[in-house]
Symmetry: C2
Subunit: 325 residues, 2 copies
């Protein structure tokens, strides 16, 4: 393997000059830099990051804790992050955690040997112990997605409450009489529901907590359950578009007209939501933009160009379509 020493000999300078020409080009005379570049090209030199990080004490690794890669929302968020980091010297190390606190803790231990320059969490940090540990580590920590009141360090997230509020207000404008809410409890459910209550100006007539896997079938089942528990129901707000679409499909199977007899709304604006018939009214969140914002903010912090601002709320939009009339 080619080493700095080899490049230095080729360029007729000392090793440290090669190092400077590559990582602090402005500290080296133009002419010298050119010589070094030529020598690098000729020898095919590639820096050894283990050696450079060991000596300098600066890691260029950012560890990315992801709960669920099969969720394209998160995938887009990671894409946004990666794009924001492109051209910088930082790289993302994957740490897959699922949604469990235990996995997060074991992944943290796995990742520590790399002395990450920062940590990004897609989804929330579950346990208080983990939060304390991270806070004590003096490493920038970025939380993404959920809008927590008390972030560990930095945060870019949507306000689920704001989304719920927008939908509540929409339900009021549509004058729905008997309203149900259904969502996963492992979700940002509490805030979303709180916002919904605020926008609606009252508690929904029925709140149905949902457990189990995220798929259409859960929505189909939820729809049946809601009809049984609240026969007068004329509008449902679901905590996810997949639930809403499932409910809509179930309504069609049961011959119940949407939105004539029953209005249905979702959350998340998945791609198919605008293409099913009727198209689903929902709240739109942009994972890519959020990830990008998080990456840019973190990068500024790492380059000490940050303004001290550490919390950003990503915008959320109500998208009114056919399913609410």
């Amino acid at each position: 393997m080619v080493r700095v020493e080899d490049v230095a000999r080729e360029a007729g300078v000392s090793p440290i000059t090669v190092s400077r020409a590559l990582s602090n080009p402005e500290k080296v005379k133009e002419e010298t830099r050119k010589k070094v570049e030529a020598a690098v090209a000729k020898t095919g030199y590639v820096v050894n990051r283990f050696a450079s990080s060991l000596r300098s004490g600066h890691s260029t690794i950012i560890s990315m804790f992801v709960s669920n890669l099969a969720n394209p929302h998160y995938g887009r968020a990671i894409q946004g992050c990666a794009d924001a980091l492109e051209g910088s010297r930082y790289h993302l190390l994957m740490a897959q955690t699922g949604y469990s606190a235990k996995m997060q803790e074991s992944m943290l231990a796995e990742v520590m040997p790399f002395r990450p320059a920062a940590m990004i969490f897609t989804g929330r940090i579950n346990s208080p112990g983990m939060r304390d540990q991270l806070r004590s580590m003096d490493v920038p920590v970025m939380e993404m997605w959920d809008h927590t009141p008390d972030p560990v360090d930095m945060l870019v997230g949507f306000s689920a409450a704001e989304g719920g509020k927008l939908m509540g207000a929409h339900f009021v404008a549509r004058k729905f009489k008997s309203v149900a809410y259904a969502g996963w409890s492992d979700d940002d459910d509490g805030q979303r529901l709180a916002g919904f209550v605020e926008g609606l100006g009252r508690k929904p007539e029925l709140v149905l907590p949902i457990a189990g896997p995220r798929n259409f079938e859960a929505g189909m089942l939820a729809f049946t359950t809601i009809l049984k528990k609240l026969p007068t129901c004329d509008a449902i707000f679901f905590g996810g578009d997949d639930l809403a679409v499932g409910a809509m499909l179930q309504a069609r199977k049961m011959g119940i007209d949407v939105p004539g007899k029953m209005a249905i709304a979702g959350y998340g604006d998945l791609e198919f939501s605008q293409h099913v018939t009727p198209a689903i009214t929902t709240l739109h969140v942009s994972g890519y933009e959020m990830g990008r914002a998080a990456g840019e903010m973190l990068l500024k912090r790492l380059l000490k160009q940050d303004s001290g601002n550490r919390v950003v709320t990503s915008p959320i939009h109500l998208v009114v379509r056919e399913s609410t009339g």
Copy 2:
């Protein structure tokens, strides 16, 4: 920061014994190991991977080249890989490439300073130059997803041709008379179409190449175009489920009965394919299983436990649903 030396002092042994107790526990007496473990726990020691990799010359980083994280198929494949690698000392470094050869090449340069122990590509390796470069590097390279005839090194992929063949045979069994095929050309289109031709026993009456973004609208547009170009058409095989669903939605808008007047089939078995009405006949591929198989195979290779087998074909299944009658 705590160093091996500190742990060694605490445990009353030499630094190298600490190192061995942690990375080759079987080379150390049980009693000594216990002392070291206690000292590690007491001091909070975490190995410095930069130092260990530099000294040993062994990187524990595997770089993962991903073309598109927003695609949940790929997301699941990465999940499978990550799961296979869990508990090993290897970690995934993300390299986002898009579908371009240029991005792949620049990401390769980005990643080389980490001296990756292996490289995984989700999707194909585009340029011949890149293939040569990788081959000359003496690093295990895993290609995933597509089944190429001439892999750089290792491969776990679906046979798109096999999938096309299954669908062709299905179309024959259904006795469709006037058949169209539509797919993205940046896809595994050639092989899929070749297999389809083989299964069908003839060339389809129309082949429509599709460009642009992957979404329902492309399918809607494709459906209209096919009807115009081949008015007698009674069955279409799409190179992706999103196209098929789009086409189906367009058919409904135009009042064309599926499958009565027109049969529609897709490829990939996305979640919504089984939930739309009519449910879409398609080819099922399991990204997670594939990723897992790739990760396991690579791990065996890295641990020198491989059997020399370097190419695996993941199974692909025809799922017959309502959309083909």
